[in-house]
């Protein structure tokens, strides 16, 4: 891992909001962050798959992250963003309510996900980061995107 080469115990995270809660993914998995664009609905897919977008000539699937995590829905706002992540050679967009910041957090301050028994299924989480009085929920993108368990036709 790249971050280990200079500060072995630190992780850089992209922090974003879903409702009131703060979530994060490793910056190494993030390709870019985009404003919301036209999303083309794809029929016969699970409801958390919002559709596909055109990212400079490539067609990418976009996941409605809140629906995937079973969080209450909200309308799109000016702050709504699509975070393009790459997991196992697969690029996917995720809709989030707002992207707040990029921060560095010490590995020591990351707890295992079973500490929080929240509304989100534990398998989707990879840890909880504590920073001052904030809680950052680290997402397990492999599970969320469901690589390997390809979409079954509904």
């Amino acid at each position: 891992m790249l971050e280990k080469s200079y500060a072995s115990s630190e992780v850089q995270l992209v922090v974003f909001k879903l409702g009131k809660e703060e979530y994060s993914v490793s910056i190494l998995q993030v390709q870019e962050i985009k404003r919301i664009t036209d999303i083309t609905r794809v029929p016969h897919t699970p409801d958390y798959i919002k559709g596909v977008i055109n990212l400079r000539g490539s067609v990418l699937p976009v996941i409605d992250l809140k629906k995937r995590l079973n969080l209450p829905q909200q309308v799109l706002t000016e702050d709504t963003r699509i975070i393009i992540v790459k997991v196992d050679e697969l690029s996917v967009g995720m809709i989030v309510d707002a992207v707040s910041e990029v921060m560095t957090i010490d590995q020591e301050n990351i707890d295992s996900p079973d500490v929080v028994a929240g509304s989100v299924a534990a398998s989707y989480l990879s840890g909880v980061g504590k920073l001052d009085n904030r809680l950052l929920i680290l997402l397990n993108l492999e599970e969320i995107i469901g690589v390997g368990q390809e979409t079954k036709v509904v």
């Binding site: 664009t37 036209d38 596909v52 977008i53 000539g57 690589v147 079954k152 036709v153």
Partner: protein, 679 residues
């Protein structure tokens, strides 16, 4: 030491090509042992492999080809007859060479032992050559007064006679090289080459390999059959530099001089082979002619990745052109629109060229099948006639690369389980020689590949029973099925097991794998069968996977693309024109009943309410093979060129969507898979 690495790719590619030529030519030779042009073709290929491998330092390959060449040379000179044993040995050589070349490719130390083969080849060369010597001597003794100084074997005489019947002449060409000539072998090679172009060299003294080794003083003789005049031949030879003299004499046959007619003598050194031939005789015909293979223009080998990149770039260009078009139209910029029209012409041509470059004849895949059919049918003691048609049909390279395995599967099935044993066929009153047809042809924007056999066919009842036993379908479902539907059950995953294979005329070995592969290529596979008459597997493949013409349609607020290749027409109907038959909506079009598909329903399009309007409906009539359907849409947008993009791994499971494309405004539109939509 010479750095051979950079030539490696070329060596491998060319070796494989020549091995392929060897395979098919040896097959031809088996059917027509007297065919000298096939023999020379084989010789040339073997020779090239020998030369290349020696240069690259692959001595094992070089050695083996060298021994093989010796045999071939004896065959060519008519001192050996292409017996079964010899053909088999040559085939084994080709196989071993293939293994050797592949081991070079995979960088493995070759553990393949070619020694036994070399010994066998040597034995063949010796044993048979001894047998044929007396015959040769006889041929000479008959012609004491002939002016030709070259001894001719019976085969050669026969070839010359045949050539004369076709209005050609045999000439003896005596070539002398200039004194001090440095590259004697190269010059002699050029002479041979030049003569090969205007005729056919049937013999040389000394033999070709002696010429190559420069085992001759300054002159050599060649017998050539040609339709050209003696002067032309002389001129051709003299046009090569460092040739001192070329004397062209008409070749006089022994009986020309004596007026006697020699009864054709055939050398029959091995009687037992004839019996061997009776078991498992294979006739393999392809409609290729040797001349066609010789035709080669100038060409460049290009890495397929580069072509892919090129194609992608052209795709981007097309998308951007479409965008510009849109801008020109929205802002009513006449100048821009005119310029774009010209650009459009160029991009269309560019695209056509790029697509054409990627097209390769399907024969590239087909040409390995005759050999496979031969071997398999021999193993199984069946007699099978493989007929290949339409091998010049072109398909995109990516499709070609993938289609081989499914076809092998289908052919193996036909050979193994379709075609019956000869005696069984005779009992049924069929020709004891089974027939398998492998046919490729164009059909609209598709290529059809068919594997047809005249074997025992598939019994729908047995298939149904097996499917029920395996719990794939219920008894009720089975009863409701007609024969065609039942036969299609073989494509179900889990249908195929070894037990089923022997019971039910055996179809089903990995048929689901075949189906998956073909569908992943955007194609379809279907089967028709009649018990005791045979089966027909029909594969439909898209011509290209990259850029197509499509009709854009609108349903509610969503835009979809329908490939133009599957569209018959578009019509307007009134809602009252829709009738129901067995609870299915249909319309009557020119006397034909056509089922209706409401796109809004099939695609679960939200808030579409076209069901209840009393206005005219737009119907796109589509077809896949013989099947037709009418697709109801809200609006037709227009015809457009679209670049097909994959939806990616995550969304790969959606059957009715074939892919996506990017429209002029940057939006993504989905491409409908008509095949899955109307089934």
């Amino acid at each position: 030491m010479m750095d051979t690495n950079q030539y490696m790719g070329m060596f491998l590619e060319e070796s494989r090509e020549h091995l392929q030529t060897l395979n098919s030519c040896v097959l031809d030779l088996e059917n027509d042992p007297e065919n000298l042009s096939v023999l020379s073709e084989i010789f040339r290929s073997a020779h090239t492999i020998k030369g290349m491998s020696a240069t690259m330092g692959f001595t094992t390959i070089a050695e083996l080809t060298h021994e093989m060449e010796n045999i071939l040379d004896l065959l060519r000179k008519g001192q050996l007859k292409a017996s079964h044993d010899i053909i088999d040995t040559i085939f084994r050589c080709v196989d071993t060479l293939e293994q050797l070349v592949e081991s070079v490719a995979s960088n493995n130390e070759s553990s393949i032992d070619s020694k036994p083969l070399i010994i066998k080849l040597k034995a063949l060369a010796k044993g048979e050559a001894v047998l044929s010597t007396p015959v040769k001597a006889e041929a000479v003794s008959i012609a004491p007064g002939a002016s030709s100084s070259i001894e001719l074997s019976d085969t050669e005489i026969a070839v010359i006679k045949k050539a004369r019947d076709q209005g050609m002449q045999a000439y003896e060409v005596q070539v002398s090289l200039r004194e001090g000539c440095l590259l004697k072998s190269a010059r002699s090679y050029m002479v041979m080459n030049a003569l090969d172009e205007i005729g056919e060299v049937i013999k040389s003294i000394p033999a070709v390999e002696e010429l190559e080794k420069e085992n001759f003083s300054l002159s050599f003789q060649v017998i050539v059959i040609s339709g050209s005049e003696a002067e032309k031949i002389q001129h051709t030879v003299l046009s090569i530099s460092e040739i001192d003299q070329a004397v062209v004499l008409p070749c006089i046959l022994p009986n020309d001089a004596t007026g006697e007619i020699i009864a054709p003598k055939s050398i029959e050194p091995m009687k037992k082979d004839d019996e061997a031939e009776k078991n498992g005789n294979v006739l393999v015909h392809t409609q290729t002619t040797v001349e066609k293979k010789n035709k080669s223009g100038q060409s460049v080998r290009v890495d397929i990745d580069k072509l892919d990149t090129l194609l992608n770039l052209v795709g981007e260009l097309v998308i951007n052109k479409t965008r510009l078009e849109q801008i020109g139209l929205t802002h009513k910029l006449t100048d821009l629109v005119e310029t774009i029209e010209q650009m459009d012409r160029v991009t269309t041509d560019l695209q056509a060229v790029v697509m054409k470059v990627r097209m390769v004849p399907v024969g590239q895949v087909f040409n390995r099948f005759p050999r496979m059919v031969r071997d398999l049918s021999r193993d199984l003691n069946k007699e099978i006639n493989l007929i290949i048609q339409g091998e010049e049909t072109e398909l995109d390279r990516t499709v070609i690369d993938e289609i081989g395995d499914p076809l092998v599967h289908l052919l193996r099935n036909s050979i193994d389980h379709g075609i019956e044993h000869p005696n069984e066929r005779e009992e049924k009153g069929k020709n004891p020689i089974g027939e398998i047809r492998l046919i490729a042809r164009h059909e609209g924007n598709n290529v059809i590949i068919m594997v047809e056999d005249d074997g025992k066919g598939i019994n729908a009842d047995i298939i149904k029973r097996k499917a029920v036993e395996k719990g794939l379908i219920s008894q009720g479902e089975a009863d409701a099925m007609d024969a065609n539907e039942a036969v299609r059950l073989v494509f179900l995953p889990g249908f195929s097991t070894a037990a089923v294979v022997t019971d039910v005329s055996g179809r089903g070995v990995g048929m689901d794998a075949v189906k998956n592969k073909i569908e992943s290529l955007g194609g379809m596979v279907d089967v028709e069968t009649k018990v005791n008459e045979g089966s027909k597997f029909k594969i439909r493949l898209p011509l290209t996977l990259a850029i197509i013409q499509a009709l854009l349609v609108k349903v509610s607020e969503e835009i979809y693309a329908i490939p133009l290749g599957s569209i018959d027409s578009t019509i307007n109907i009134m809602p009252s024109d829709i009738k129901t038959v067995q609870n299915k909506e249909v319309i009557l079009l020119r006397g034909q009943i056509i089922p209706i598909v409401r796109l809004a329903d099939v695609l679960n399009i939200p808030d579409s309410d076209n069901q209840h309007t009393e206005e005219e409906l737009f119907v796109v009539i589509v077809h896949i093979g013989e099947q037709r359907a009418g697709i109801i849409v809200d609006n037709l947008i227009g015809q457009q060129e679209i670049v097909i993009k994959s939806l990616g791994k995550l969304l790969a499971g959606i059957k009715i969507i074939a892919g996506a494309t990017i429209l002029g405004n940057g939006q993504v539109a989905l491409i409908l898979d008509i095949g899955s939509l109307i089934q």
